[in-house]
């Protein structure tokens, strides 16, 4: 290999195209440096630095989004930049920002290290942003593992709580198992795609475009289909689709609330973006993909809503209802096989889900108490009288999750439904309707506790109602903005809706 060809290769490494991710990484490093450099009394400012940095990045991202970006590959086809990628950058930055704000609420009450939390959060966020733009299995796997390992740490971050550690361990073992399955699938696809004896074999079988071309030429290869289902099972773990959803409630319950929120929103969104990417790649195998995803969607919808029905722990409830949401999104993914509009619907749904979920988790972080332990629905009794603001935000968030107009969640569901109907998925739609109706029960059951009940001690003893901590300025601001955004996005979708649905 000569120098010019190396230079040509290196020239494809356009670092500017991943500027946001780079800056996030640098910000993460900066935090570590500052922790060493700054005196201890200033350490409390570090989260602020991280949040400000993310905010600045977000602002920059929004500004540059208006200018438009160059679509196309970079890093020798490892990455593919698109409008959707830009959007998801915003999404993950937003998620990171909100998680950070929640972190300031929760971490402040815990005796754990702070800076590392933000560092890992930023790294994971950057990895997610790369993940959803990856165009190559190596890139996909590496960033996915970065995300996953970062999340292992974050889940078990409250290391003096056995729950957090147990959740971390469960997440770790199941995550590693699913990674191994995913990896084996990738390996099989790589091996089949590069096999010289097969038609249209390719030298770089891990590149998605090349792989799709290969699959199109070999529509019924057994090893390829095994590889595909193994990759799907790996992704299904991320998005918590049936039957790979079983970890969700335990891990959600044990993890620190901000991390639960991050898991529920960002990790799931990343998983869905990956699913969309691989579904596009595997589109020649629609004969396999469509039934698998259909069955998965139906089972996920039903299991999620049924299991949440009798749940009393709000974190588990959110986790299981999140499973049901994954079912809705899967419905969109199935529809996306034939309807391009479904992709826009999924994006919109994810954004609505982000706003609503963080609103709910924000309230949960406030209510959970200093030990992050008050997680029963009965702890929410009488909240409306005590802290009407929190109750209102919670109601809006839950309403949006339940898909009630005029909140954003309804629009998301509507778009998904329309797409599904256009794709002719009537059976799945029926299941989805059932799931919506069931979901009303548990979401409104929670709202009922907040608004209609008075405080009774969960133990049945005459314990006095615990004093609820006042809402901090930043957290209050965040909750208010989230609630307003949820309402606003329900009434008026504006340019976002236009853009998503003209695609």
């Amino acid at each position: 290999m000569d120098i010019p060809s190396l230079q040509a290769l290196a020239a494809s490494n356009t670092w500017t195209s991943i500027l946001p991710e780079l800056m996030l990484g640098c910000l993460a490093l900066l935090l570590l440096v500052l922790e060493i450099v700054l005196p201890k009394r200033l350490h409390s400012a570090l989260p602020g630095v991280a949040l400000l940095g993310v905010l600045a990045l977000l602002a920059g991202q929004l500004l540059t989004a208006c200018c438009g970006i160059t679509e196309g590959e970079s890093f020798n086809g490892l990455l593919y930049h698109s409008q959707e990628g830009q959007l998801m950058r915003v999404f993950f930055l937003l998620a990171a920002l909100l998680t950070g704000v929640l972190g300031t609420v929760c971490l402040a009450r815990q005796r754990v290290a702070h800076t590392e939390f933000y560092h890992i959060l930023l790294v994971v966020t950057a990895a997610m942003m790369l993940l959803v733009q990856s165009n190559h299995f190596v890139m996909l796997f590496v960033t996915l593992e970065t995300v996953t390992i970062g999340l292992y740490i974050l889940v078990s971050y409250f290391r003096n709580s056995p729950f957090s550690l147990e959740a971390g361990l469960k997440y770790l073992i199941m995550g590693a198992l699913s990674s191994a399955i995913l990896l084996f699938g990738i390996v099989l696809l790589y091996g089949v795609g590069g096999n010289p004896s097969l038609p249209a074999h390719t030298a770089s079988a891990m590149n998605f475009d090349e792989l799709r071309a290969f699959l199109a030429a070999n529509p019924h290869n057994f090893l390829a289909s095994v590889g595909i289902v193994l990759v799907l099972s790996g992704v299904a773990f991320k998005i918590a689709a049936f039957p790979f959803q079983i970890w969700v409630p335990d891990v959600y319950q044990g993890a620190p609330t901000p991390v639960t929120a991050f898991l529920a929103v960002a990790s799931k969104a990343a998983g869905f973006l990956v699913l969309l990417i691989v579904a596009r790649t595997f589109s020649p195998y629609a004969w396999l993909l469509a039934p698998v995803l259909t069955v998965m969607a139906a089972a996920t919808l039903l299991f999620g809503s049924l299991a949440a029905l009798t749940q009393h722990n709000v974190k588990r409830l959110m986790g299981l209802s999140g499973v049901s949401h994954a079912g809705f999104l899967l419905l969109g993914v199935v529809a996306a096989g034939t309807q391009s509009m479904a992709v826009g619907a999924i994006y919109f749904y994810l954004f609505a889900y982000l706003l609503a979920s963080f609103a709910v988790f924000g309230v949960m972080a406030q209510v959970a108490g200093p030990e992050d332990a008050d997680q029963e629905i009965s702890h929410y009794a009488g909240l409306a009288k005590d802290r009407p603001f929190l109750a209102l935000v919670l109601a809006i968030g839950l309403g949006s999750l339940a898909g009630i107009p005029p909140l954003a969640g309804f629009m998301g569901k509507l778009f998904i439904f329309i797409a599904a109907f256009q794709a002719g998925l009537y059976g799945l739609l029926a299941v989805a309707v059932v799931a919506v109706v069931i979901s009303i029960y548990y979401y409104f059951g929670w709202i009922r506790a907040v608004f209609f009940s008075n405080w009774v001690s969960p133990d049945g003893e005459a314990a006095p109602q615990p004093a609820r901590a006042p809402v901090g300025l930043m957290a209050g601001l965040m909750l208010g903005v989230l609630a307003l955004a949820t309402i606003f996005l329900g009434f008026y979708q504006g340019p976002l809706g236009q853009w998503l649905n003209n695609r």
Binding site: I149, Y152, S156, L165, G194
Partner: protein, 102 residues
């Protein structure tokens, strides 16, 4: 005597993978479960190297680098969690780690 062709390697790797999977299912000791998981990763690398060799592309071999690194990081984090948990609960048996349920 089995001929060392691609199919053999792939089947062998699949066998290793399945053994690892079986270990994950069978064992109750988190450490051994963890080792079984590592075995599954190693099985994948074996297939990867075989494919790389017989397909004549280097990508597979390069991928192994990353897999090894990731495995190492995973082990480090995993063991740290296990140790921390052991400090609190004095056990590494998964049967006894079921405070989170229902």
């Amino acid at each position: 005597m089995i001929h060392a062709g691609l199919n053999t390697y792939v089947t062998l790797s699949a066998l290793l993978f399945v053994i690892g999977f079986f270990g994950v299912l069978l064992r109750k000791n988190t450490l051994v479960i963890f080792m079984s998981l590592e075995l599954m990763l190693v099985a994948s690398t074996l297939a990867l190297v075989a494919f790389s060799r017989f397909n004549g592309t280097l990508d597979g071999n390069v991928f192994v680098f990353f897999i090894l690194t990731i495995a190492a990081a995973e082990v480090a984090v995993g063991l740290a969690i296990i140790v921390a948990l052991f400090r609190m609960r004095r056990t590494v048996q998964v049967d006894e780690l079921n405070a989170l349920k229902h």
